[in-house]
Amino acid sequence: MTTKRLSIQRYLPEQGNNTPYWQDFDIPFDDSTSVLDALNYVKEELDGSLSYRWSCRMAICGSCGVMVNNTPKLGCQSFLRDYEGPVKIAPLAHFPVEKDLIIDMGLFLDHLAAVQPYLINDSRLINDSEEGTETFKQTPAQMEKYKQFAGCINCGLCYSACPQFGLNPEFLGPAALTLAHRYNLDSRDQGKKQRMPQMNREEGVWSCTFVGFCSEVCPKNVDPAAAVNQGKVESAKDMLIGIFKG
């Protein structure tokens, strides 16, 4: 078995070391060794103090995001075989680092909550008759409109890929704006009016300059950049409507 050199950014504030540093490990690997497997190997065989997040190992839970050679990646979905030379692993960019590869996602979660990413529809509450327990109906064509934007697993890779979020953490950012757009496009939803004020802000859709790297790194092909920029069209329309209504 061949080995691969991994440089991992360590940060251990509880040991009184308040500056991050790099630590090298040599990892035996084959074609099926993922970055997450490599981290597990380090923790189990070489250095038990390494901290990182993971759960599903199959690109579903979205918890194993790290920077691999300066690009945001899911550890479980990236393979050592695809990298020539040593591999540099660091915590996701643009977030506060708590320990080693563990970041504080609080900002991201706040931004998600701000756009109210859930169905807003009061019609089922009007009379608690039997209709109240009925499910919403939706045709395949209606679902097609938002389906691509509904695949997000909240991994945060797009935030680490977004320099505008890096420059201004107040920017709602790719995933949150994508979810806002996804619910606005949903035929069952009536919450667009409540979401538009968030999107219309400077820190809403308008901080985006269509860098496009978010869509490049998204492990679920959600294309957040497209959603955010379609959100700009919606926000511009919203402004025009506001002007005509006075």
Binding site: G106, E170, N200
Partner: protein, 131 residues
């Protein structure tokens, strides 16, 4: 630690509507012009004719004069000068932000103000020419 204040869905200061749709609209229109009309304009006016590949008579004084100071000339000024100016202003403004230069307000005034000034200059020049 948490610097996020964007959670409050109230009508506070940070919920203000951005004026960006105006600039983005001009940017987009200018971007289309930059992509569709400007390449041909540069190719002929700034490359083929000055290099002598297309006859020098193409921009002879009388000919140029009657071409520019006409309705098509006005359309040319709008599509090849004014709108691309606003496109450029928008990208320069955001580029300055990307490079962490200047302040948001100052950059806005300088870039869009510059584009507006040069556009007015072009339109005034056109007006003088047809009068």
């Amino acid at each position: 630690m948490n610097k996020g204040t964007s959670l409050n869905n109230d009508a506070s200061e940070n919920m203000r509507r951005s004026d960006e749709p105006i600039w983005w609209g001009l940017f987009s229109a200018g971007g289309v012009c930059f992509a569709v009309f400007v390449p041909a304009a540069i190719l002929f006016i700034a490359l083929l004719i000055p290099a002598g590949i297309v006859g020098p008579d193409a921009l002879r004084f009388e000919r140029a004069h009657s071409m520019v100071f006409s309705l098509p000339g006005l359309i040319f000024i709008g599509m090849v000068i004014c709108l691309p100016l606003f496109h450029a202003a928008h990208r320069i403004r955001h580029g300055l932000h990307d490079l962490k230069l200047g302040t948001e307000h100052l950059n806005k005034v300088a870039t869009y103000g510059g584009a507006a000034l040069l556009s007015v200059l072009a339109l005034v020049g056109f007006a003088i020419g047809i009068l």
